[in-house]
């Protein structure tokens, strides 16, 4: 479904009619409790993400980025507050609907890859397709295309333990794209890649975002990301420290220089 190539003014929405909120977090909080010890992974997050946006999330280690992803990706339930995906309260969804959402509408690239150890690269990529009801032959074909896209088609039969970190990461990326998701959540997708491969992955993400209108939210320490994103978000100690459009930040960077 590519209605309009989503290239829109990159500012905060003045024009509410043309911009849809795809993810909305309201007062989102996550508390981990272990006995007496309480950790606030997220304190109170309010954020709106618009359809077709490319957002980069930055923040020091332990600031709550991964936790933030899990919440807005409907992989975990917040301790307080609500998450809406396309204006539907995630807490209201049934187990089947949640599975559908995770399978077809959201693609996840985990910081720790989370590949299935006993499956080959190709099987890892085709598993979400199988869950989505794609026939095996069709799934194989699409899976090979995706592996080709991330430059791993000659290694489709390798299992995760037989691959390097970067290769595993690329399999994870291919898997996230398996069912052509509307939202892509990437937790440090280029952390283990060399400069060149990293560039290629960034190009893929950018292309998906620009050509197919996929909403991309990306946690990273990679400054190249800043060049292709629409907005930047800084998280610190479980709070959003700042959200800014890229042009605003570029002005600052320029002024510093």
């Amino acid at each position: 479904m590519t209605d309009t190539p989503a290239h829109m003014p990159l500012s905060e929405p003045e024009d509410v009619v043309s911009r849809r909120v795809i993810i909305r977090a309201v007062g989102m909080q996550k508390v981990y409790q272990r006995g007496e010890e309480i950790t606030y992974a997220l304190r109170s997050i309010d954020v709106e993400v618009y359809t077709g946006e490319f957002i980069v999330v930055m923040g020091p280690s332990g600031s709550g980025k991964s936790t933030f992803f899990n919440m807005i990706g409907a992989l975990d339930s917040p301790s307080k507050g609500r998450v809406f995906i396309d204006e539907v309260d995630v807490a209201q969804l049934t187990a089947e609907e949640l599975a559908f959402l995770r399978c077809r509408k959201i693609g996840y690239i985990f910081q720790s890859y989370n590949l299935i150890q006993y499956m080959t690269a190709l099987e890892n990529v085709t598993t979400p397709m199988a869950f989505g009801g794609v026939m095996p032959d069709e799934a194989r074909k699409r899976g090979m295309d995706l592996l080709d896209l991330v430059g791993l088609s000659d290694r489709w039969f390798h299992r995760p333990i037989e691959m390097s970190g970067g290769q595993q990461q690329r399999v994870a990326i291919a898997r996230a794209l398996a069912n052509q998701p509307s939202i892509l959540l990437c937790d440090e997708p280029t952390a283990n890649l060399d400069h060149h491969t990293g560039d290629e992955i960034l190009a893929i993400l950018q292309r998906l975002n620009k050509e197919r209108g996929v909403t991309v939210i990306c946690a990273t320490h990679d400054h190249r990301m800043m060049n292709i994103c629409d907005r930047l978000m800084w998280i610190r100690d479980g709070n959003i420290e700042r959200i800014a459009r890229r042009d605003e930040v570029e002005v600052e960077v320029g002024s510093i220089e």
């Binding site: 989503a6 077709g52 339930s77 598993t127």
Partner: protein, 490 residues
Amino acid sequence: MKRIDVQNQPKLSSGRIFQIAVTGVKYRLFRAMVTVAVIVVAMAFLMNILTESLIKRAVADSVREQIEDLHRVDRWIARLSIPQSAEDILTQIAKAEWPSSYGEEISAMSGMSMDALKAMQPQAQEAVQYLRFFENLDYGRLRVLVGPVESTRIFERLQTERGWHQFSTSLADMRTVRLPLPLEQFQAFIEGWDQLDAFIDVVREGQTRAIEQVHEAIGDQPVVEALQDADGAFGQTIRAAGFALDPEEAASLVQEVRRMEQTLLIEGTINIHGVRQAVAAERDILPGDVTMPMIWRMVRSRDRAEWFLGVLQENQVDQGGLTPETLTMIARQRAHARLLAVAEQQTMEAGGGLMNIGTRMTWLAFVSMLVCAVGIANAMLMSVTERFREIATLKCLGALDAFIMTVFLIEAALLGLVGGLGGALAGFILAGTRMAVTFRSLLWQAFPWNEILVAGLLSIGVGMVLAAISAVYPSFRAARLAPMEAMRIE
């Protein structure tokens, strides 16, 4: 711009689920070895008990007649010497199928009509039930209920007012003790006991008369000796007295009495100096070390038997009409009889319970199964727990809870299948070897192949079911959590 409209995730076909499960198992089979090993041990234990008990029962069934034959002479000596006990009479009447040779015998001796005997059967059957009931009580309870009497004396005692009062009040206090029939019926039976008792007396009187008749005929001659003529005049005497002795039985009797005598004769030769020395020289040992079992073992071969009879001749010992063939046969039969004795003793508890393996064995199998269940549950719990991360990942990719549980169930069942198969085989080999050593030649003629196959399938089934059940809980726990919550458990 991509829009999201949320629908229900479709269910996968069972074929696809199975395929995915098998992929996982194939990869993990080596790592699952520990789990499989636990199942193997558990199922081997169960299969071992089952196989051993089944073999014992089959051997018991197949040798029952041979054992009866073994005691044929003793039985006849007893029959020709004392009347039966009341309990034996009741038991035999109760299980008689008409026309019955036992019935004819009783009728001939006591002068009662067959119809009168038949009429007693229901009462006798009832009596046998009560006797079994009292027999199975432990001594303490029996003492409290009926005092220090046993067998049919119990019925006599219960006829007294005091006896019945003690019985009925004590029985009411014992919650776990149940009469086989309602108390009122038992009371009616006790009231009618006189009639049955009188009947038994008539039977016993008849038997006593018959025995007297036989003893008059043989005078002072011991019954064993007289039995040598069981197929001739003495047989006629026995029959005339009313005993049911068919010609075949008579022929076997004669033969066995002969064997007994010949056996005695051979056993006596060990005291003859010349024989002892000849055997010692032959075996190259001291005469003092020659034993009877040694001689019996020796004459099991025809050559040695011939040689031995030659030795007897040299020493001018009567050979009692023995030929090398008969001596060999007697020696072999003795070995067989010893084996039968082992079988008789080993198979005493066979019968009853699950698959007829005996109640004690059923209980043992049940307890072992409990232990196995705990072991398997633990192994499965660990193997599922270490895979919570995988479960979480699958959920992130859109797997339904039911899918995850099905995959784990199939996996567990497959592990159970492999483990059960290995266990059944191991248990079978173990028990089979042990039983082969115990029963030797008796085993093969009675080997219960079909039942052991059933037992094997049972073990495999139990292994699969136990493994599957043990996998249900942990996988259910993991599957219904939010993916990231599942990932945090470790």
